[in-house]
């Protein structure tokens, strides 16, 4: 008996395989499931002709067969409907380019400024917005650069009058921070600075800086090195090496020039680092006791460190830009690369 159910099942599958359209599907459905004349109905009618003891098994196998037929017909119908809907759609070439939405770009200097400010905030620094037109006092005097100080030579300055000038660095953050906060102080400021240098490939009368100040009890030169290392590794690369060597800035003592291992040759020596393996990147040092005192910080109790770095220079190094003027010409073919 079961052999006969198996035969029926095979017969149904042969029918199913031949269905090509909805008409054929209906024909097959009626052939197997029609209430009066369907094959399965016909088989069920044979039930009474069977010996009593065979009836339950036969009935059960016929019910299973009916479920199987209904299920397979249903699936086949769903697939046919899906295909029919799809046929109304035109085929497209999905390899063509997508819609040209225009996306602008952040200026590379801004991107770097934001990156730097966020690094410092994560290290507990307060970011200061400071004026570009600054008083001589904040730019020079309070940073231990009195009038007639030779170090002023290195920073040829634009003046508006005796007292007002275009800031030559962001180091004024040191004075502003010490005037507005009590130690412990962690302050940073980024922005435009100005020096009276004519434009050429490596000079611009306007460029950008980031300046940093930390003042607290027991701040050491080791702390300066540690914080610098964290900062430089985040800005450049975790594998960067750095070195400090003596340098002179009137507002720090001891003062240091800071070099990083060349990011082009990894210290092996190349044209960019003049075969030295090192690139000079910033000036740093322990805050000069006079600078602390002038801003009302007790230099016998507190010490601190400060550093200043050119942002444009970092952008030049990171992106391999060969002319600082490109940053201010705003050629979109340049801007779009960032």
């Amino acid at each position: 008996m079961s052999g006969s159910t198996e035969e029926l099942r095979r017969g149904f599958e042969q029918d199913l395989a031949q269905i090509e359209n909805l008409d054929a599907w209906k024909r097959i459905r009626d052939r197997w499931l029609a209430r009066e004349s369907g094959i399965i109905t016909g088989q069920m009618k044979r039930l009474r002709e069977l010996p009593k003891e065979e009836r339950p098994a036969f009935g059960q196998s016929m019910n299973l067969l009916r479920e199987f037929v209904e299920d397979r017909l249903g699936t086949t119908r769903a697939v046919m409907e899906r295909e029919a809907l799809e046929k109304s759609r035109r085929h497209i070439d999905v390899t063509r380019p997508g819609f040209p939405y225009a996306l602008g770009t952040l200026h590379p200097i801004t991107r770097l400024r934001q990156e730097i400010e966020l690094i410092f905030v994560s290290l507990g620094f307060t970011v200061f917005d400071l004026p570009e037109v600054e008083q001589d006092y904040y730019n020079f005097e309070a940073l231990n650069m009195p009038k007639n100080h030779p170090a002023r030579d290195a920073q040829d300055t634009f003046y508006f009058d005796e007292n007002l000038l275009l800031r030559t660095h962001c180091s004024s953050v040191q004075v502003h921070a010490m005037q507005s906060m009590k130690p412990p102080i962690r302050a940073v400021s980024t922005g435009k600075v100005y020096r009276r240098d004519p434009s050429d490939a490596t000079h611009s009368p306007m460029f950008h800086q980031v300046d940093v100040l930390v003042v607290d009890e027991g701040i050491t030169m080791g702390d300066l090195k540690g914080m610098l290392e964290v900062f430089l590794k985040r800005v450049f690369h975790p594998d960067i090496r750095m070195r400090l060597r003596p340098g002179f800035f009137p507002f720090v003592e001891p003062g240091a020039e800071v070099d990083i291992s060349c990011i082009f040759c990894f210290g092996a020596g190349c044209r960019i680092c003049k075969e030295s393996g090192w690139i000079e990147i910033l000036g740093a040092g322990m805050v000069h006791p006079k600078v602390l005192r002038m801003s009302g910080v007790d230099d016998t109790r507190y010490s601190g460190f400060a550093w200043g770095m050119g942002i444009d220079r970092v952008a030049i190094l990171k992106h391999g830009v060969d002319d600082i003027r490109l940053f201010f010409e705003n050629d979109v073919r340049f801007l779009k690369q960032f």
Binding site: F128, F160, L228, G247, M286
Partner: protein, 683 residues
Amino acid sequence: MKISIEWLRDYVDLPGDIAQLRQDLTMAGLVVASVEQANGAPVLEIEVTANRPDCLSYLGVAREIAALYRGHLRAIPLAKALRRDGERIPYSIEIHDPDLCPRYVGLLLDGIRVGPSPDWLQKRLQASGMRPVNNVVDITNYVLLEVGHPLHAFDFDRLRQGRIVVARARQGQRMVTLDGVERVLDGEMLLINDGGGPVAIAGIMGGRDSEINGATDKVLLECAYFTPASIRRTSKKLGLSTEASYRFERGADWNGPTTAIARACYLIRRLARGRIAGNCRDVYPSPIAPVEIELSGQRTESLLGVRLAPEFIESTLKRLYFKPVRKGKGRWLVQCPSHRADMELEADLIEEIARFHGYQHIPPTLPPGRVAGKLSASFAYESAVRNILIGLGYHETVNLSFAGDADIRRFPLREGGAPLEIRNPLTEDTQYLRGSLAPGLLRNARHNFNHDVRQLRIFEIGKVFCRDTEGAIVERNALGILGTGGFAGKNWLHTAGEYEFFHLKGVVTTLLSGLRCAGAEVTPASQIPWLSDSRRSALLVDGKCLGVLGALHPSLEEELKLKQPVFLAEIDLQSLCGHLFAPARYRPLPRFPAVERDLSVLVPMEISYGTLREGILARGIPELASIDLMDVYEGEQIPAGKAGITVRLTFLDREGTLTVDRVQSFSDNIRAFLQEEYGAAFR
């Protein structure tokens, strides 16, 4: 400072490997920028920082090298005596202003044969970048380079009355210097005078009239110590910087003059046959006391973050010619050598110890945090503006903050401010600080047009400056936006269309809504001279004008040779930022459907859409949720003098479903109003 290795070996033993010397000097603070060859021998280019004038000489550099390698400094040959019994030619030196000239040393030699210097001396001067002149002048230069102290040689026969008088100049006094330039002096400048008048500007340059020449027989050597600030002031004021002034203004060694003059005397006697005719005069009314600084070993350790043996501290200082005297455990009173003009405070000594300990041997540490970080107020709104504009396809630019006359003329300041003028500008077209971002953005447009980029969307956030009516300097954060050129792309999807006023307006209004700016509206504007009369608007926030936008005036478009319409917006970001980021309050979502009704009307041309819209809103129908302009018809199908517009009115009742009758009554109300008020006809 150019240091020839051949010459340097006279004073100190050097390592065989010049690269090693270069490295060691650099790490000790004397940066060797380059090594070049001159006359077949290496010459170091050393960058001497402003605090180390003592290293502006061969002996100074040799001193550092000897300290670095624990080596020995060789003495230089000096004249044994600077006086003879029975002075043959009397002369005098008087210092009237010892505050500016604490010390003046003179020596008179005669029987001089002026002529060229020997070859070796000429070569050494040349290797260090100096031009040989004659043996006397060359010797003064040689000694300057060797010991670092400037000297001057006068032709004694040209000095009137055999007198030297060091005194401040008279206001307006004039003299001609060696370079042939007549200098006008002021009352704070120090002069070297003879019995008749000025013969040199002290510490800077000698006068023409007493210059050494081929016929000179007697030479008066001058070697003095001048007050640094005075020399610097005079040098700055006269715009005259010399090898001498460079050293004096940074601080020479007040004990240097006797050595320098003895060295010069030694060389002149050998190379120019001179003899002492007038004894050395050392006029030094109040000798300068050596600088003494207290040093604490504990303070040194705590500032550097390293442990240091007291013996190391002491031996380092001694190698550098300091004299530390123990004042108890780990404390010293340190006497500084007179050549170290940079010594003032304990920190200066600590730097010396750090230099010789080696910065590289200080272990990096991190200080305890103790404070929380905080972004600046501008970070949030500036980032938001940037992100939105970038999303809308605009590229950020950064322009130089300078402006020229033409910029000021074309883009006059609003609110009656005056342009901020730089007293010492670099060039004429950068003599002001910008009062507007527009000129910079237009320069960018021109630059890009010149490179065939004519579809441009750019913006800038930056400071603009002016003087207000009281003359005070105003510095404000501003936003400028520029759009120009169509949308047509070289793309199979055929984006197209011209950039026009409504694109810029859309950028501004989208930006404002993205910034959650409350109370902003864009309204027609009257006087903005650089914007086209027919296409300009003002941005009002709470009734206050915080910006303008529109098409660049056609006359400027022509003047700047732009050859296409350019649209500009400028917004006072600093004032705007107080109106941004309005707090968000949740409002329940409507539970009932909204109903839309389109209204097509013909109205007289002079009635603006804004007027219609305001009029409809003023009907005060609470169920009117929004009005949208759907279409505008102008031209042939419309009667002359009329404009056809279609607005979509959306009605919504938050409390219940709107019935057709109620919607109809709202719509009728509005229609009747438009008809009565504006003579509108309906289509």
